[in-house]
């Protein structure tokens, strides 16, 4: 390969350097680790918010995304995102670097570098973004989705929505500085407002509409079962987000430092913004509000982290928190069951952060005397992202609906998806009764003393869906 084979994020000129920058390499290695941690953190954030009967399924949707995307990214994900053989500026050729061919070392066996950073380190960094983006979507379909369908969706959506979007914005495609809109102003998406948050937020809305509401939505109480888990998740997300945003500076330098400080400032402000709305509207500042405000702030600063000042990050954050706090109620009015508010938080704050750059970008933003061009181009890339994600998600989700089916049995939904689908319970604090019936050694024998043959048909039928059949005697 030649070094100009790869187009990458915010760098127009790709040059092969002889010297590695170990400081930057260390920073991207740890940033990648931090972003990977965000997915388990998200699993906590989401898992704590569901009812206790679905906590495991909720977490499993995030972990499942780690499994699927973790494998396909090295196969075709990297190539579709960053191959210089771009297909109409929409996606990269999946075969150029299939299986990371010609990506890790050059013909001399030396690690390929780009701006002092080994490309393989960048691969690690990028895979974590793909994983978390897919995992984010799962918040919209809590308690009711078939796990198998979700896993297949994860793979398809990453392939047809995420990798192309990453290519368009960061890989030199349509929405990048090399794309057609750059003539107005260079579009800014520092760390993923369009690629990650608008993309996932729109997909969440589409899935919520296609799957339909949960039994009892808008009537039964569906309150978070474990708020300390939610807060822990939010705290770990904040921590991991430093890799996401400050890592996206692609260097251990002042730019990374600015992104770091902006991330903290905007997030703190957004927490206060959300709490303020709650205090005024509902009379109480809640811990779920604080956790949600944190995430809204992190989302909003994502596209802007390197291009606003800390003073600009304050209003950006406050407004993000307040907007999202108001937006989470819309699902009740419009009747879509976006269970954990992916739309209200990620789509709304993602749009706000992307568009706010039109005002607040130091240099090119309206408030900094830059005129309307930046605002204009930010709106365009946001809209393109919305439309692209909506169409691709709808097509994938409808095909899956027709083929594999999305919804679990409604009785299983009532009993709880954890027991019904995963044959587990999240918690057992009493060490309650029950018997060990059989053990799955390779040959799956019944234990001595277990009654009858092992019930291989699983548990989902053991509930009150059928009538006399299920009697004991």
């Amino acid at each position: 390969m030649t070094c100009d084979d790869v187009q990458h994020r915010r760098r127009k000129v790709i040059r092969m350097e002889n010297a590695i920058d170990t400081g930057t390499t260390a920073w991207i290695l740890i940033s990648a680790s931090l972003v990977l941690l965000m997915t388990p953190a998200l699993a906590l954030f989401y898992g704590g918010m569901t009812r206790s009967k679905s906590v495991l399924n909720m977490m499993m949707m995030s972990y499942g995304a780690m499994g699927v995307i973790g494998v396909i990214y090295v196969l075709w994900g990297w190539s579709m995102s960053y191959s210089s053989e771009s297909v109409m500026g929409i996606f990269g050729n999946p075969f150029t670097h299939f299986g990371l061919a010609d990506t890790i070392t050059d013909s001399a066996g030396e690690y390929i570098l780009s701006d002092g950073l080994p490309t393989v380190v960048d691969v690690g960094f990028q895979v974590t973004f793909a994983i978390i983006t897919v995992a984010l979507i799962s918040g919209a379909i809590a308690d009711r989705a078939r796990f198998g369908t979700w896993l297949v969706f994860a793979g398809l959506w990453a392939t047809f929505a995420y990798f192309p979007m990453a290519h368009m914005v960061w890989g030199g495609g349509l929405l990048s500085g090399d794309g057609p809109f750059a003539s107005i102003a260079e579009p800014i998406d520092f760390a993923g407002g369009t690629v990650v948050h608008i993309n996932a937020g729109v997909a969440a809305l589409v899935l919520a509409l296609i799957l339909g509401v949960r039994k009892g939505f808008g009537k039964s109480p569906m309150r978070p079962h474990n708020l300390p888990l939610v807060m822990t998740g939010a705290g770990l997300l904040w921590f991991g987000w430093f890799g996401f945003n400050a890592g996206s500076a692609y260097a251990a330098d002042g730019g990374a430092g600015l992104a770091w400080v902006n991330t903290t400032t905007a997030t703190a402000a957004a927490m206060l913004g959300w709490l303020l709305v709650e205090r005024l509207r509902d009379g109480h500042a809640t811990s779920l509000g604080a956790a949600s405000g944190i995430v809204a702030g992190l989302v909003a600063i994502t596209p802007a982290a390197g291009d606003v000042s800390p003073l600009g990050a304050i209003p950006l954050g406050i407004i993000a928190g307040a907007l999202s706090a108001m937006a989470v109620g819309l699902k009740y009015r419009f009747g879509y069951d976006d269970s954990l508010d992916v739309v209200g938080v990620h789509l709304v704050a993602g749009l706000w952060g992307t568009v706010a750059l039109g005002f607040l970008a130091t240099g090119s933003g309206l408030f900094y005397g830059g005129g309307l061009n930046q605002l204009w181009v930010q709106i365009i890339i946001a809209l393109v992202a919305v439309v692209f994600s909506a169409v691709v998600t709808a097509v994938i989700a409808l095909i899956l609906k027709a083929t594999m089916g999305w919804r679990i049995d409604s009785d299983v939904e009532v009993m709880g998806i954890d027991q019904g689908v995963h044959a587990e319970s999240g918690y057992d604090f009493t060490g309650g009764s029950g018997r060990l019936a059989s053990v799955g050694v390779a040959s799956r024998e019944a234990l001595p003393g277990a009654e009858g043959p092992a019930r291989s048909e699983g548990t989902t039928t053991d509930i009150d869906t059928t009538d006399t059949r299920e009697t004991r005697s």
Binding site: G434, A437, S438, D462, T468, E470, R472
Partner: protein, 112 residues
């Protein structure tokens, strides 16, 4: 006075509560319980080992009523709690010799 105890499915609780309130009963005590009966439990699998959980989550309601109300209250509960499926539960009636309200120290029917 009678004590009516009802063991019902958890998601029927709100319906039963509302039916009782509509009937004019405005006090009751609830405990979480687990039931064993014709309705089967479920099994869970942990690292390939299968556990059978025989008990099914239930809610246990206790309602103190005047003698005359007993029969109708049982009916109200049965009606509201029924889903027509195995495991809907049981209602039983016990005779009560005395009732006292803690706050006031009142005894008897006045204390219900």
């Amino acid at each position: 006075m009678k004590l009516i105890t009802a063991v019902i499915k958890p998601h029927q609780l709100d319906e039963v509560k509302e039916a009782l309130e509509a009937y004019g009963i405005s006090g009751m005590t609830e405990t979480e319980a687990s039931g064993y009966g014709r309705q089967r439990g479920h099994s869970e699998v942990y690292r390939g080992a299968e556990y059978t959980v025989d008990f099914v989550p239930k809610v246990r309601l206790e309602v103190l009523v005047e003698d005359l109300d007993a029969r109708s209250v049982v009916d109200v509960i049965v009606k509201a709690a029924s889903t027509g499926r195995i495991g809907d539960g049981k209602v039983w009636v016990l005779p009560v010799e005395d009732v006292a309200r803690v706050r006031t120290g009142e005894h008897g029917v006045a204390a219900i």
